[in-house]
């Protein structure tokens, strides 16, 4: 293991180190009592780690391929890292207010968040199925724990259990897939998979890999955990997992399908198209009449997974470009939406019903504005990043000749507007006598401002981010 290898993996290392520092700091500062919540320092440490990782991510490594060819830090990895770090950074900013209010163990929380981010990035950097598997597990174990972090909340515990059991179930299929691919191809190296003839055994292996990744991305029919876990998990954890799991899963999809198996595109593309279609329809339809915002956003995230899968199912540079752009925009807009919810509280509980939004405009107009903006973006309407992202994906679909896919995508987008705008209108609609008093929090304010600005920036001036991900795509060819 050379220093060069460590240099290539520097963002992950920085995050890992930061996670340990946070844990140590937490143990040092708060002493034995978990009940002592005053651990704002942990948050800042985590944020510093994320910032440093972001900085390091900006510099391409001298030798992209590292760790004996198992790891690669190319432009694609950079783009995935960017999405993951943006999501993590905003999450870290969003969390302190909530953690203090609900007395959750801050040190563990931040450490878990950072570990999970490492997992997602690792999936983006995987050049070997083992690394992909490790990334997947590093990504998901902290998430199981985060979901169950509120130890006295039955809902949180239920969320943790369901996530864990179903996650383990899914993982088993993934590992079996790894085994079968290895058996069929004789190698775990993704870069050498391209030349392997497509035997039924390989096909079954690939199918099982799909299941593991699809579970993490919450693709139908591997999605069933998502609504329950999203609803039950503590809000910041939900926010974080909604983003980071998608980043990791789609990084994995990119590494496995368009990059490792281009020759078999015709075969897996058809399967993924079907999955994407079902996912978009299911997610959007099930979200229609949800009254709980977390649950609504869960189904929304399922639907978005379906959209992103378009970029995989319609392989080619346009698809990859679309997925990467979408991941970044999705991280920003989804966290913006959750961020506003974090501000809400009713009698010591999360106020996560749509009805709780009534009167938000009167109490916190800017927060309501950001929520509305994020909803507009999630709905894929201009002039927000959500629109440009969808535009790229639709372009990919049509370019690949998947007209049905594109049609389902746009029509389900129309359906989705129904629930997104209902939320936006509820947030903006006047004053209500028993309006929830939104908490004030500087860090959340900063996070929301960042998210709002990002959504608009990616929507109105998309050229910078487009150029960035375009480079990632071109570098792969």
């Amino acid at each position: 293991m050379a220093w060069r290898d460590l240099g290539a993996a520097s963002p992950e290392l920085v995050l890992t180190v930061a996670a340990f520092v946070v844990l140590l700091y937490d143990a040092w500062m708060t002493g034995p009592s978990l009940e002592s919540p005053r651990s704002g320092g942990a948050g800042w440490l985590a944020l510093a780690g994320v910032a440093l990782a972001l900085l390091l991510n900006a510099f391409p490594p001298t030798a992209p391929v590292a760790f004996a060819g198992m790891y690669v830090r190319d432009r694609l990895t950079q783009a995935v890292t960017l999405a993951a770090l943006l999501g993590t950074g905003i999450t870290v900013l969003l969390s302190p207010a909530y953690l203090n209010r609900f007395r959750l163990p801050a040190g563990e929380y931040y450490a878990l968040v950072l570990f999970s981010a490492v997992g997602a990035i690792l999936m983006g950097a995987a050049r070997n199925l083992v690394v992909l598997f490790l990334g997947l597990e590093i990504l998901s174990f902290p998430l199981y724990t985060l979901a169950a972090l509120a130890t006295r909340s039955r809902r949180s515990q239920e969320a943790g259990l369901k996530y864990l059991l179903l996650g383990a179930f899914g993982t088993a299929f993934f590992v079996y897939g790894v085994a079968l691919v290895y058996g069929a191809a004789g190698t775990l190296d993704l870069s050498r998979l391209a030349g392997v003839p497509l035997t039924p055994l390989l096909g079954v292996g690939v199918a099982l890999l799909t299941i593991g990744l699809g579970f993490e991305a919450a693709l139908v029919p591997f999605h069933a955990w998502a609504p329950d876990v999203y609803e039950g998990a503590p809000l910041p954890a939900t926010a974080f997992m909604s983003v980071i799991a998608k980043v990791g899963a789609f990084a994995g999809f990119l590494r496995v399908f368009p990059l490792a198996l281009p020759a078999a595109a015709a075969q897996w593309s058809a399967a993924l198209v079907a999955v994407a279609v079902v996912t978009m329809i299911w997610g959007n339809l099930a979200a229609l009449f949800q009254t709980n915002l977390k649950r609504l956003l869960a189904y929304s995230s399922i639907a978005h997974a379906g959209y992103m899968l378009i970029g995989i199912a319609a392989p080619g540079p346009a698809g990859t470009l679309g997925v990467l752009y979408y991941l970044v925009v999705y991280a920003v807009m989804n966290l913006g939406a959750f961020g506003v919810l974090i501000l809400l509280e009713r009698r010591g509980e999360e106020a996560d019903e749509i009805a709780d939004l009534a009167g938000l405009w009167g109490r916190a107009p800017w927060a309501a504005g950001v929520l509305a903006l994020c909803m507009v973006s999630l709905a894929g309407l201009p002039p927000t990043g959500g629109f440009i992202a969808k535009l790229y994906l639709f372009r990919a679909a049509l370019q690949g000749g998947h007209t049905t896919l594109a049609l389902v995508a746009v029509l389900t987008s129309v359906v989705s507007v129904y629930y997104y705008l209902r939320v936006a209108a509820a947030a903006l609609s006047g004053t209500a006598p028993d309006a929830v008093a939104p908490r004030r929090s500087a860090t959340v304010g900063i996070a929301l401002a960042l998210a709002g600005a990002g959504v608009l920036w990616f929507g109105i001036l998309p050229s910078t981010l487009t150029a960035f991900v375009q480079q990632a795509v071109q570098a792969l060819r």
Binding site: K162, L198, Q267, L285, L288
Partner: protein
């Protein structure tokens, strides 16, 4: 002759002034502005006539282009006025009669709250009517055509708080608009034929562009005639005019007798060169006119309402005019138009005086014996009645006689016989009206002031001079107006003056020829009129002639069920269709859309039930996915 533009412009300015600031300068100011502008327009009209007369006969066709109104694609429509003998005559009729009625109105409307509004409308009407007659092309004519329709609507519904008046206004607008569809299509067809709707071009090039009796010419003429039917209340679009009597009486005199309703006749004369290319259309015009003439005269026989009698009379007389132009007697048509303007305005103004005296009553069954208290009114009404009946030396005699003789010479004796019969009926109904109003002593004369119409108080009394003098002037015109077209010295003054305008593009009109046996025809028509008067007198005054048929009476009082027929066939199905559309829109079109929405929603509800909360079920769902995927891959 650019100054001719002031003729419509002056009343228009009067409208703007009274419309914007009418409330500021009081009734006197309003009256001065309103009457002054019309009188001034009359003066300008005289000047135009003078300078037109000074031109050689062949050059009496002056086009005044104001500016390019619309130009789109290959179409250019200038805002063009056409000054020729025809428009000059019409200008004088409109402004002359108009000025008299304006002045009369000052007295008639003196107590009305909406004095300024009334005169604003009246001025706007005058301006529109002058635009109509001065128009240099069909499109500009359409400005006036629709403008007078608007004013007609506004003035019929002037007392809009009365539901009947409001409804009558709407009816008038809708029915005339129905005709205007034809007019518009006629314009489009004209553009199709000539690439323009300019009267000068159309008249000059009619023969070149339209084969004689061709489909285009016939369609064009019939379409325009449809417009004329609506505006001039001919069958089958007559039904708005009797209802229009809901308006103030001077309005009925000006718009629904003297000027607007004659627009159709004027338009056909204006387009005579085109009509000459379509003999079939000419025949349709003539027959429609003749049938309307006798139909309306018969309807007037049983009408109890004085003003509605006059309305049917107007319809009938307009029928005569169409009969005239239908047989190519352009001059006779315009002559009768002029003469009708005089005597019918006179009749209306006299009727207005009656109403003024009786506090707004128009029901003849509640009148009678008014000759004693209203001698002047009775005399002037009588003059008008005689003119209407066609008794020499009143103007109506000359004009009607010209039409009848033209009809006779137009190889079709049937038209002449119908016209003659209508003339007899005319004499009967007008005698009836005169007798019922002025002679028969009614059991109880209505004396209580009605609401709305001119307010008279106490015992019936003569109208003030400001109303009396215009009536008198019209009576004098009725008496001496015949000089314009004394038929014994064919062609008459008017006809000779009109000749250049109505001969361009066509042969000399039939009405101007002196024919053999003229004396016989005249004698017959006078005899018929006298017989009608006698019959009327015997029926209604002395009661000598009796014997009535309830069936005939019912037929006449429902105007031969034309309107009922129209309602059953057009109005009621139309309403039903509209409501059906409404229902279809909500339950059919929108229902389909909403059904899609509901379907999607139901899908969402079902998917929510799948999310049951049971972990093992989730695992099962996942497994189904696994199995499907594996099946797919294995089957590859």
């Amino acid at each position: 002759m650019t100054y001719a533009v002031w003729i419509p412009l002056l009343p228009l300015l009067g409208w703007v002034a009274n419309g914007v600031a009418g409330g500021r300068w009081g009734r006197r100011g309003v009256a001065v502005v309103a009457c002054g502008t019309v009188v001034a327009a009359f003066a300008v009209g005289l000047a135009v006539l003078a300078s037109l007369s000074s031109l050689p006969a062949g050059a009496r066709h002056v086009e005044v282009d104001l500016y390019r109104w619309m130009a789109a694609g290959p179409i250019t429509v200038p805002l063009r006025l056409l000054v020729d003998p025809l428009s000059a005559v019409m200008v004088l009729v409109v402004t002359g009669v108009g000025a008299l009625i304006h002045i009369y109105s000052v007295g008639y409307m003196a107590d009305d709250d909406a004095f300024a509004r009334y005169f604003a409308y009246l001025n706007l009407f005058t301006a529109s009517m002058l635009t109509l007659v001065l128009a240099g092309n069909l499109v500009v004519m359409f400005i006036g055509w629709e403008g007078v329709g608007l004013c007609s609507y506004l003035l019929i519904a002037f007392w809009f708080t009365r539901p009947a008046a409001a409804a009558a206004g709407v009816k008038a607008f809708i029915v005339t608009r129905l005709g205007d569809v034809g007019f518009l299509l006629g314009i489009f067809l004209a553009f199709g034929v000539w690439g323009t709707a300019d009267f000068g071009v159309m008249t000059r090039d009619a023969a070149a562009h339209l084969p004689l009796g061709g489909a285009a010419a016939t369609a064009l003429c019939l379409l325009l005639f449809l417009g004329a039917c609506g505006k001039s209340a001919q069958l089958p679009l007559y039904m708005w005019l009797p209802d229009a009597m809901e308006g103030p009486t001077p309005v009925s005199a000006l718009i629904h007798a003297a000027t607007m309703v004659t627009a159709g006749v004027f338009m056909i004369v204006r387009m005579h060169a085109v009509y000459l290319r379509a003999p079939l259309a000419m025949d349709v015009v003539a027959v429609t006119g003749a049938v309307t003439a006798i139909f309306a005269a018969a309807s007037a026989l049983v009408e109890p309402d004085l003003k509605r009698v006059l309305a049917y009379s107007t319809i009938s007389q307009l029928g005569y005019m169409f009969l005239a132009v239908g047989v190519g007697a352009w001059g006779a048509g315009i002559f009768h138009l002029t003469s009708h303007a005089f005597f019918k305005a006179l009749l209306f103004l006299a009727a207005g005086s009656v109403m003024h005296a009786l506090g707004g009553t128009t029901d003849m069954r509640r009148m009678g014996g008014l000759a004693r208290s209203l001698p002047w009114t009775a005399a002037t009404f009588g003059a008008g009645a005689l003119a209407l009946a066609g008794i020499p030396p009143f103007v109506g005699f000359f004009s009607k006689d010209q039409i009848l003789s033209a009809g006779f010479r137009h190889h079709d004796v049937i038209l002449w016989i119908i016209g003659l019969a209508a003339a007899g009926l005319t004499a009967v109904y007008i005698v009836r009206a005169f007798v019922l109003t002025f002679l028969t002593a009614a059991p109880g004369v209505m004396r209580t002031p009605g609401n709305g119409d001119a307010g008279g108080h106490g015992a019936p009394h003569e109208a003030p001079p400001i109303m009396g003098i215009p009536t008198l002037v019209l009576a004098v015109l009725t008496l001496v107006g015949g000089a314009l077209g004394v038929s014994f010295v064919h062609p008459g003054v008017l006809a000779r003056f009109l000749l250049p305008a109505v001969t361009e593009g066509g042969p000399a009109p039939a009405g101007s020829e002196a024919g053999a046996g003229e004396g016989v025809l005249v004698s017959v028509s006078v005899a018929v009129a006298l017989a009608g008067i006698l019959a009327g007198w015997l029926i209604y005054r002395t009661g000598t002639l009796r014997g009535r048929s309830d069936a005939v009476r019912a037929l006449l009082s429902r105007q031969f069920y034309v309107e009922d027929f129209f309602n059953t066939l057009v109005t009621t199905p139309g309403r039903g269709l509209a409501w059906a559309f409404d229902l279809f829109d909500r339950d059919g079109v929108d229902g389909a859309v909403m059904a899609i929405g509901r379907m999607i929603g139901r899908g969402g509800g079902w998917l929510r039930r799948v999310q049951s909360g049971y972990l093992r079920q989730y695992a099962a769902i996942l497994l189904i996915g696994v199995i499907v995927l594996l099946a797919y891959w294995v089957s590859r």
